[in-house]
């Protein structure tokens, strides 16, 4: 027997929230591969399944309501469906069969082998339905399987069915004249998807550029015949008619449905105008407490690893400049990239949970009126709230928005959301300069950020008007599977490390060069800062050291404090660390990070303390000497608004290109100067 293994590519398609990822997870276990879709940064998850002499590649396509795309993610699914693969696995949420079947019926017109999976049958059954997959099997002529992906029930029937390679028969009955016209176009197309394509062309909603002119011309002629009729609506109505008819035969009601299901009961509270909003305010607080209390020990630990590695390098006795490059350039750079990872991982974990449980859509419902006021789509609140944690995942999460201009608008507003890195600078300055009202000063920063964000969105709304339909689904509540959430959070975090890591590393090395050349005493950073003093004196900042710290702050805004400390108090020389000494420190650090995580798990349910009485130590004393309260306030505002950190810029660049990334930097510097000048002028009057 030949030992040659055959390969198969299988794509999983269906509405959002139908359990595609859970199914692939159950089939492939840990054999997952994460990459990006060609030309985009939307994560592509595929897995390898070895089954009966086949190497089966399982590809998780972004969820879609329609084959013709409405947004970036649906576009990817569309492109993949027209590319090379062997079998379609259409995953259906059985409880919402009718709407899901709409995609199924379109897929059946693609002329490729297909398997239909009726997932979450347990939910449908518990709501009083009897499920009859054999009816759908009969209608489509392809294998139909029932599964409960979260419990692993029925999943192994899928690979068995895939190997049957059955091509579905189109099941929709169109008006006769439309059917005849569609067949005429079909004859001109030489692709398996010809039936779907001819209907899409006839509907007038699809105008591809890579279709031969003769076909487009005959489509035009045919459409002339139907003048005065709305072909798109007729075609869609025929599909929905068929879907409704088939759904009624597949799902048969066994007993009357309970008057209120769980989703209804929970929604009475969660969507309540008062209690719902209180609930989400507390939930947001909990998400941030969870993210930052649990990540802090690991961010510290990464700092410790950097210190130990630096110590080992220092103990080698190399040339001082080389040592400095390795420690402050390379190790510090890699460390900066990695120190984002724990924060992002936990934030993604929380967001994945909220998304899959159905809570995120409810929060969008509650905040929709506010978003509408700012001229943003309701779903944009997710990226904006995420921005309070970290701007980077916030920018990536704009992908779920419908069109380019909405995504762009949201992404350009995100950097004004005061992230946790800026918070560290604000806390120090508030404690040093406004000891009596420190928490209020910190809160003021959040308000100024949100205000500038809203005004920016409003101004942009005047430039780019959105004509899109503002709708989103409120999916039923579900308890997500832990392994799926963990996997998703891990994938997204790695996506960031791979995507933005290079740029951050480059920026760290660049800053290192600026600090060390031409000479450490008279470096480029100092030259540049001295030159900029003229401008900054307008907002009450006359000391070059305060300005020079803003440039390292471009890498990550919390770096501003460390950089100020070095320039005012002098840097500490590198401490050489012995091998054993270092290993012991690493082990001890690991243990205390674990302990810190446990403490955080308990501590996150307590309300955060508003005690900001830290005096700022020696650095605080020095700062009080060079800044007045008014100029300190202006400096805080400037830190809030000036260019997003390099990781955020790199995310904007990845998503929208160089031009918009550059514009974002320029716009923010301008806004930062303008607003902090205003803040300074006002503060001079008040303080």
């Amino acid at each position: 027997m030949a030992t040659e293994r055959k390969t198969l590519k299988v794509v999983f398609v269906g509405n959002p929230n139908t359990g595609k990822s859970t199914l692939i997870n159950a089939l492939a276990g840990s054999d997952l591969k994460i990459s990006n879709w060609a030309g985009t940064t939307v994560e592509k998850v595929s897995a390898l399944l070895r089954y009966r002499g086949y190497d089966v590649e399982l590809v998780d396509l972004p969820g879609t309501y329609d084959i013709l795309p409405n947004n970036l993610e649906e576009e990817i699914t569309f492109k993949e469906l027209l590319s090379e693969y062997d079998v379609i696995v259409n995953v259906i949420d059985t409880g919402h069969l009718e709407r899901n079947l709409h995609v199924t019926l379109e897929l059946a017109e693609m002329g490729r082998p297909m398997v239909v999976v009726l997932n979450m049958v347990d939910e449908a059954e518990s709501r009083g339905y009897e499920v009859h997959p054999e009816v759908l099997e009969e209608v489509l002529g392809v294998p139909v399987i029932t599964t409960v992906a979260t419990k692993g029930i029925g999943v192994w029937e899928i690979p068995k069915a895939i190997l049957k390679f059955a091509v579905p028969r189109p099941a929709v009955v169109y008006p006769e004249d439309i059917e005849r016209a569609a067949r005429e176009i079909e004859r001109l197309i030489k692709r398996p998807e010809k039936r779907w394509m001819s209907l899409a062309l006839l509907s007038g909603e699809w105008s591809p550029t890579d279709i031969p002119k003769e076909i487009l011309n005959s489509v035009k002629d045919l459409r002339e015949r139907f003048k005065g009729r709305d072909l798109f609506l007729e075609i869609e109505s025929a599909r929905f008619e068929s879907a409704r008819d088939i759904a009624q035969r597949v799902l048969r009601r066994r007993k009357e449905e309970a008057s209120l299901d769980i989703t209804d009961r929970v929604d009475r509270f969660v969507l309540h105008p008062v209690w719902g909003n209180v609930f989400f305010a507390l939930l947001t607080l909990l998400v941030f407490r969870f993210t930052f209390l649990l990540s802090a020990p690991w961010v510290d630990y990464i700092g410790l690893v950097q210190e130990v590695l630096g110590g080992w390098v220092a103990s080698l006795g190399l040339n001082p400049l080389l040592t400095s490059f390795l420690v402050e350039g390379v190790i510090n750079g890699v460390g900066t990239v990695l120190s984002f990872a724990p924060v992002l991982f936990l934030l993604y974990l929380a967001i994945s949970f909220l998304e899959m449980s159905g809570l995120l859509a409810r929060a969008a419902f509650q905040l929709d009126a506010l978003m509408r006021f700012a001229g943003l789509p309701g779903k944009a609140f997710v990226p904006l709230i995420l921005g309070f944690g970290c701007n980077v995942p916030a920018v990536y999460s704009t992908r779920s928005l419908e069109n380019f201009s909405e995504r762009l608008k949201t992404a350009l507003v995100i950097p004004f959301m005061n992230c946790s890195a800026r918070l560290t600078v604000h806390v120090l300055f508030a404690a040093v300069f406004f000891p009596n009202v420190a928490p209020y000063m910190v809160m003021a920063m959040y308000f100024i950020g949100v205000l500038v964000a809203m005004l920016t969105a409003l101004a942009m709304g005047r430039v780019v008007k959105s004509e899109n339909a503002a709708v989103f689904e409120l999916p039923p509540y579900r308890i997500p599977k832990a392994s799926v959430i963990l996997r998703q959070a891990y994938n997204r975090t790695m996506g960031f490390v791979e995507g933005a890591g290079g740029v951050i590393l480059l920026a760290v090395v660049l800053v290192w060069l600026m600090v060390n050349f031409p000479s450490p005493e008279d470096n480029f950073l100092k030259l540049l800062s001295n030159w900029a003093v003229g401008v900054f004196s307008l907002i009450g900042i006359n000391d070059w050291r305060l300005i020079s710290s803003l440039i390292p702050g471009f890498i990550a805004k919390e770096v501003v404090i460390g950089s100020l400390a070095v320039s005012y108090l002098g840097g500490e020389p590198f401490q050489a660390v012995g091998l054993w000494e270092g290993l012991r420190a690493l082990a001890e650090g690991f243990a205390s990070a674990l302990l810190g995580t446990l403490k955080g798990l308990i501590g996150m349910f307590w309300l955060p303390s508003l005690d900001l009485s830290a005096s700022g130590g020696k650095l605080g004393e020095v700062l009080r000497g060079v800044l007045t309260p008014a100029s300190a306030f202006a400096y805080m505002v400037f830190i809030l608004l000036y260019t997003p950190c390099v990781a955020t810029v790199s995310a904007i660049r990845q998503e929208f290109g160089n031009r918009w990334a550059a514009l974002s930097i320029a716009y923010q510097i301008t806004v930062a100067f303008a607003v902090s000048w205003l803040a300074y002028r006002l503060a001079v009057l008040v303080f």
Partner: protein, 78 residues
């Protein structure tokens, strides 16, 4: 049968058409808001928008200004 805009609907009705075409309409149809579908208004947000509706057995939130372009006929004519 009396026809109203979805934004003015209280209770139940059947969707009959749209007064805006193109991507706008396609988006609504793909999420399940299509002519012939039964629609029921469940609740409204704090400022009267968005409107939570049930079409098929799917719950969808739609902004008031988008709902203005959806025409619904009242079944019992009141």
């Amino acid at each position: 049968m009396k026809a109203v805009k979805l934004s003015e609907l209280k209770g139940e009705g059947v969707i009959t058409g749209f007064t805006k075409n193109g991507d706008f309409r396609r988006r609504l149809i793909s999420i399940g808001i299509y002519p012939g579908a039964k629609v029921r208004v469940i609740r409204r947000g704090l400022m009267g928008t968005p409107i939570e509706i049930c079409v098929g057995n799917t719950r969808v939130a739609i902004r008031e200004e988008s709902a203005r372009y959806v025409i619904v006929s009242l079944e019992n004519g009141d």
